[in-house]
């Protein structure tokens, strides 16, 4: 909530001219949700400190945000009044606009002069912690001193907070420092208090001019500054990146996609091989498999079901069934449903597929899923895929004993999956076979595993 700028360059009070703020006064500027005060704790020729203090109104913060229907309690008790965030960037641009724009009526020669400054931020939230903070500021030449805090010293087991008391030292023109802070404060926080649109790209280009394109973390900075909104980030990166930078980034994301696509394509191949013409995708999510199935005319009737209404809306948005020609439209249907309730709409299909679905259910609830799928829906063919827990050791980022996804309720080894599948097949009169999915490790198997049930 506090940003101080200190210089000891003689005469230090020149800072007042640079900032266009009188050292003997307290000045206040209005912000969207509150105000900011500018005052000088110290103003001598030897040392001068200008302080920018946020005065965010916590009640108005909530009211201004009242349009959305997201009534999470978190919204009401939050750290915004106490931290340096996009509110601080907003305050910088309101309080120090003259300086940031590089104007100084009385002493114009100061504008481009590199001056030694010490900047203190109290407190700065950094998603990603100290390493990331250093990664953002050090390449720009700042000397970074950081003090971190426990979440609650009375409960050391809760670990460290994401808040830091940050001291930055550098010799630079003030306008450059202000512009860099303007961009990097919300980048550290990884959040914005306002709607982010095209205009945000312009701001990034303007304030980032001359330093962002050579910054080694420019991609991350760009993404975070644009709130990780992919289309905006892509647009901005195209402007910032040099030609040779681009392919690397795209190649990486392509590799990531490959495993999931492989799973889906394998499922589709099996369905084609089995000469299936009607399929129900149980847990269709955003409809990736549905789209693949639509590409093949062999599938005459495709039903996508998911428990998440939000995911279904995305699927509907992607598949646009309403806009398809009638023949195509009649092939596909999306419904909101659940795998723990009996549902007549799921019956009468030749095949049912559950791609990476079962691990999202608490194990005791699988009994209900089994009946819904194998007893009531009862397609001739059922394909179930799930992750292979044995393969987890291959993922470096995954600590032992944790799951690949925060919503996974269990992850099975191949033996566990086989035991389950055999029991289900026996109980409901199916024959089951198994295969690994993805690049197979000799000892560990594939990253995922697939069971094919037939009756």
């Amino acid at each position: 909530m506090l940003l101080t700028i200190t210089t000891k360059r003689y005469p230090a009070t020149d800072l007042g001219y640079l900032l266009h703020k009188h050292p003997a006064k307290v000045q206040t500027v209005a912000l969207t949700a509150g105000s900011a005060h500018i005052f000088y704790p110290e103003a001598t020729d030897q040392s001068c400190t200008a302080a920018l203090l946020l005065d965010v109104d916590p009640v108005r913060l909530v009211r201004g945000n009242g349009k959305g229907h997201d009534f999470a309690l978190e919204q009401y008790v939050n750290d915004r009044p106490y931290v340096a965030s996009s509110f601080m960037s907003n305050a910088i641009s309101q309080a120090y606009s003259t300086a940031m724009n590089g104007r100084c009526k009385d002493k114009p020669h100061l504008v481009d002069e590199a001056i030694p400054f010490e900047i203190v931020l109290s407190v700065l939230p950094v998603k990603g912690g100290e390493p990331l903070l250093r990664q953002f500021f050090e390449p720009l030449g700042y000397e970074v001193a950081v003090q971190s805090y426990a979440l609650d010293e009375q409960y050391p087991e809760w670990g460290l907070s994401r808040y830091f008391h940050v001291t930055l030292r550098h010799t630079l023109p003030l306008k450059t420092i202000l512009r860099q802070l303007y961009i990097l404060i919300p980048v550290c926080d990884n959040d914005k208090h306002y709607f982010v649109g095209d205009h945000e790209i312009e701001k990034l280009m303007e304030k980032g001019a001359g330093w962002l394109d050579t910054h080694p973390a420019k991609e991350l900075i760009t993404r975070r500054y644009l709130r990780n909104i992919a289309p905006l980030a892509k647009q901005a990166l195209a402007l910032i990146m040099k030609e040779e930078d681009l392919p690397v980034a795209e190649k990486e994301s392509k590799e990531k996609v490959r495993l999931h696509d492989l799973r889906l394509l394998t499922v589709r191949d099996i369905l084609l091989e089995e000469k299936i013409s009607t399929v129900v995708d149980l847990g269709c999510g955003e409809g990736k498999l549905l789209r693949l199935l639509m590409e093949k005319a062999a599938f005459k009737k495709i039903l996508g079901m998911d428990v998440s209404y939000h995911a279904l809306e995305i699927a509907r948005d992607k598949l646009k069934p309403d806009r398809l020609p009638e023949m195509q439209r009649n092939r596909i249907q999306l419904i909101h449903g659940s795998l723990t309730y009996r549902d007549k709409r799921l019956a009468g299909f030749e095949a049912g597929v559950l791609v990476e679905v079962i691990e999202h259910l608490d194990e005791p609830r699988l009994a209900a899923l089994e009946k819904v799928v194998f007893e009531y829906a009862r397609p001739q063919t059922v394909i179930i895929t799930t992750v292979n827990a044995e393969y987890n050791v291959r993922y470096e980022k995954l600590t032992a004993g944790t799951f690949r996804h925060s919503d996974h309720r269990f992850e099975w080894t191949r033996a566990e999956f086989t035991a389950w599948g055999n029991r289900v097949a026996e109980q409901f009169g199916y024959i089951v076979t198994y295969q690994p999915l993805g690049e197979t490790d000799e000892l560990l198997g594939g990253p995922s595993q697939l069971a094919l049930f037939k009756r």
Partner: protein
């Protein structure tokens, strides 16, 4: 004779029928219909032509118009409403469609023929400007009508009336509607419904004797029936109702017939026909039937009977009505049961179903047809009592019960007492026959058929817009968008629905206090109840933990038998949104067994005559369940504030020292620093580390239900003291809640409550809850809030933020609105109670789950979570 004589002044039709007006254009059908039927009962093809094409005479849209007529007619018939089709209907093929529709809905088709002279029709049409079709049309229609009129009975009409002239029509005064024979809704019982007797006369007499009837066994007559005093205080004679299959296989079919015929003939009993009775009738009528399946015995036994007796048997059997709808539609008795869409209807299909049930078309390994169990899908309101299929034990399934316990096969003869729902059985004296298929074949599971069926509930019963009736409050509507949200939460996070019999309601705070520095104060809570006319309330300390519902079974077999849950331990602890409280199953089970031990050692199970209990409670510490919220929100805000603010205050002090006029800011931020400190102090009150079970505290405050009953008729003092007794069984884990009983309007008593609250909150307590003394309280508008909470000043800091009590903030926060929260609390409260009532009354799980699902759906309504 299908064509009635010419002079009719009264005709009578069944109250539920599909009436077809038949006659050429201009015969006066619409006028006739308007004269004798309600406008809403008449569906006219001309009107439908108009509705879809703006022209009532547009013949080009006939096909579509008839689709509309059919659609409306089908909806009406489904609801059981008499319907009149106003169209020419002169061709047999058009009538065939309507006969088919009548059959589909099991209503009787009635034909009223307006067979007018051509001249009459032509004259009427020329008077109408809009009817300018060719003159050939009417003669053609008349010809078609007259060709087919003789065959109306063969087409399937049960009632045909013919009118030949305007004079005939003028002479007709009334069309009366007669109830169907099966309609005995005005008979309210009490009844004793008796299963398949199959000639077991001795057992029948013993059963009747056990039920309190006096029978002259020699003469096969009833001497007297027992009396029962009903809820309104009236004394009524009980009446036996036989589900049919009186005869065959057993030793004394003629005696059984004689007794039942006597009783039914004197109006002392009711009887519906079974398939064996029907077959005997066919035999007696001289039809060619095979003497098998026990009929051979009956025939042999009847050999010595007089022709008069045989004649009376024939008359009796012929007069039996397929099924009865009794007691305002609350009870249906049919031999093989009856699905909802057929109840109270009359058709060959209904009769067939009543006597034989439904089969799948397959045959089993014994060569017998595989029965389709209609009761599995039964969702009707009426209780259905039936027999036909012998079962090892009469058990409830979706409010239906098969009471054929195979007496003739050596098991027992069973009666169901209605409305008591009690079963009374007498054992068979011997085994008179061997069943072709073993009784109870396929019953491999330890779970009842209902419990097996309840493994997976049908999504249809919960999604979309739902309207739920509740016994403690108004009917509650669940909107579709809310049930969508509930489906997701229920499917992804909730525990087994078999455990999930109750969810606690949300609780509203008292009206906002206007006292300085306060947002909530007991004065407003007491005022609320005083103003609703409640003179006695209970104040209970509000614990700061997480709401938890605890179900404990005495042992795992109770979990299996009563809850139908296998292999999930002997109890469960879940949150107010139905999620498991403990992530580790083992921990949960140890927790449950601690409470179980306390229940056993304090004699709870014996005192309450139960082997399970459902408790509504608070489970502490708060940090055990809300760990993520605490760390990510509360502690985070606390760190940010308490680290940033000293730096700010320091900077401002420096500025002031250098004569910068920042005193006001310094004062403001110094106060904020202090508030931040209080905030951290506030949330820390409710955190303590949990390393083992001993670190938990459970404070139950309601005993919700035990076997066969709920405790909503008990006052809160009773609940508190019953719970105190349990808590004595494990004082380490269980916590009895301190409380105070207060008389509203009594100044001293109210003052005591207020100062108690002040003491509680000053010591760091969350606050208190004020409840009406009685569990369920009503005023003239309906239910009164079952509880309001009064939270402490410091506790509210963690809800409204560190600086909420700054005067400028408090002023704005006082604008909060409570009505949404209040209404939600009442709806959730009455649904929660309803669900438990249904559960203890052994309703099918889907009816219990509807309530629980409804509460979860209501929880997705947007309400300020700070309330």
């Amino acid at each position: 004779m299908s064509r009635r004589n010419r002079k009719l002044s009264h005709i009578s039709i069944p109250e539920l029928s599909l009436v077809m007006l038949i006659g050429p254009s201009g015969a006066g059908k619409s006028t006739f219909a308007r004269q004798f039927f309600k406008p809403t009962e008449i569906i006219s093809s001309d009107v439908c032509r108009g509705l879809i094409s703006d022209d009532e005479n547009n013949q080009a849209v006939s096909a579509d118009a008839f689709e509309v007529v059919r659609f409306i007619a089908a909806k009406r018939l489904k609801l059981g409403l008499l319907t009149v089709i106003d169209a020419t209907n002169v061709q047999p093929e058009s009538r065939k469609e309507w006969i088919k529709l009548a059959r589909e809905y099991h209503v009787l088709p009635v034909a009223i023929v307006l067979n007018m002279a051509e001249k009459v029709c032509q004259e009427r049409n020329t008077l109408r400007a809009d009817r300018n079709f060719g003159s050939h049309v009417i003669p053609q229609q008349i010809a078609q009508l007259r060709r087919g009129i003789r065959y109306l009975r063969e087409e399937g009409f049960r009632h045909v009336f013919e009118l030949h002239s305007p004079e005939d029509v003028a002479q007709l005064e009334t069309i009366t509607r007669t109830p169907l024979y099966n309609n005995k809704k005005d008979e309210h019982g009490p009844f004793d419904i008796i299963g398949d007797v199959h000639g077991c006369y001795d057992e029948l007499c013993t059963l009747l004797d056990t039920l309190g009837y006096q029978v002259d066994k020699e003469k096969a007559t009833l001497i007297s029936a027992p009396v029962t005093t009903n809820a309104e205080g009236y004394t009524r004679f009980r009446k036996p109702v036989f589900v049919g299959d009186l005869v065959d296989r057993g030793p004394k079919s003629p005696q059984v017939l004689r007794l039942v015929m006597n009783m039914v003939g004197n109006g002392l009993a009711l009887c519906v026909p079974g398939n064996h009775d029907a077959k005997l009738l066919r035999y007696l009528n001289g039809k060619n039937v095979q003497l098998r399946h026990g009929l051979e015995q009956t025939v042999a036994q009847l050999a010595g009977e007089t022709p008069e007796f045989l004649e009376s048997v024939k008359l009796f059997l012929d007069g039996l009505v397929s099924h009865y709808v009794l007691d305002d539609g609350k009870l249906v008795v049919a031999h093989a049961g009856l699905k909802e869409s057929m109840q109270g209807r009359g058709s060959g299909g209904v009769r067939e179903f009543c006597m034989y049930g439904e089969t799948t078309g397959e045959t089993d390994e014994f060569g017998l047809p595989v029965r389709y169990n209609w009761a599995l899908e039964y969702k009707g309101k009426a209780m259905v009592v039936y027999g036909h299929t012998p079962v090892p034990e009469a058990t409830w399934l979706n409010n239906t019960i098969d009471i054929d316990t195979g007496c003739v096969f050596g098991a027992s003869l069973t009666a169901l007492r209605y409305p008591e729902r009690a079963l009374v059985s007498v054992p068979a004296l011997e085994q008179y026959a061997v069943p072709a298929r073993p009784i109870g074949y396929n019953a491999a599971s330890v779970l009842s058929i209902q419990q097996q069926y309840d493994h997976v509930l049908d999504i249809e019963d919960f999604t979309g817009r739902q309207r739920l009736e509740t016994r403690y409050g108004h009917p509650i509507t669940i909107r579709e968008e809310n049930s969508i949200a509930a489906l997701e939460v229920m499917s992804r996070f909730a525990i087994n629905p078999k455990w999930l019999i109750y969810l606690p309601p949300t609780m509203s705070p008292a009206e906002t206090s206007q006292a300085a520095g306060m947002l909530e104060h007991p004065a407003e809570g007491l005022q609320y109840f005083r103003e609703t006319g409640i003179t006695k309330v209970i104040c209970e300390e509000k614990h700061m933990g997480s709401r938890a519902v605890v179900i404990v079974c005495k042992d795992e077999s109770v979990a299996v038998n009563r809850f139908g849950v296998e292999g999930e331990g002997n109890g469960v602890v879940y949150t107010r949104t139905g999620r498991p409280f403990f992530t580790e199953k083992e921990m949960e089970q140890v927790f449950i067994s601690r409470i179980n031990n306390a229940l056993i050692s304090t004699g709870f199970y014996d005192t309450f005559e139960t082997d399970w209990v459902c408790l509504d409670a608070e489970l502490m510490p708060w940090s055990a369940k809300a760990q993520a919220l605490l760390q990510n929100q509360y502690a985070a805000v606390g760190t940010a504030a308490s680290q940033a603010l000293p730096v700010v205050v320091d900077a401002l002090q420096q500025a002031v020292k250098h004569n910068v006029p920042a005193e006001a800011l310094l004062e403001k931020y110094t106060r904020r620093l202090e508030q931040a400190g209080n905030y951290v102090k506030a949330y820390r009150q409710y955190c303590w580390p949990v390393n083992s079970l001993d670190d938990y505290k459970l404070a139950p405050f309601h005993i919700m239900a035990t076997e066969g009953r709920t405790y909503f008729d008990k006052d809160h003092e009773w609940h508190m003291s019953a719970i105190k007794n349990i808590c004595a069984g494990d004082e380490q884990l269980l916590l009895a809640t301190p409380y105070l009983i207060v008389e509203t309007g009594n100044e001293a008593s109210e003052k005591e409550a207020i100062s108690w609250w002040e003491r509680l909150t000053a010591a760091g307590g969350e606050g208190m809850v004020i409840k009406p003394f009685h569990f369920v309280s009503k005023d003239e508008k309906g239910l009164v809030q079952p509880a309001v909470k009064i939270r402490g000043k410091e506790y509210l800091r963690i809800i409204y933020g560190p600086e909420y009590d700054a005067p400028e903030n408090l002023e704005r926060l006082r604008g909060r609105k409570l009505s949404g929260k209040r209404s939600l609390a009442l709806r959730e409260f009455s649904l929660g109670l309803e669900g438990l009532e249904r559960f203890v009354n052994k309703a099918p799980l889907q009816l219990v789950h509807q309530c629980v699902f409804g509460i979860l759906a209501l929880e997705s309504e947007p309400v300020d979570p700070r309330l």
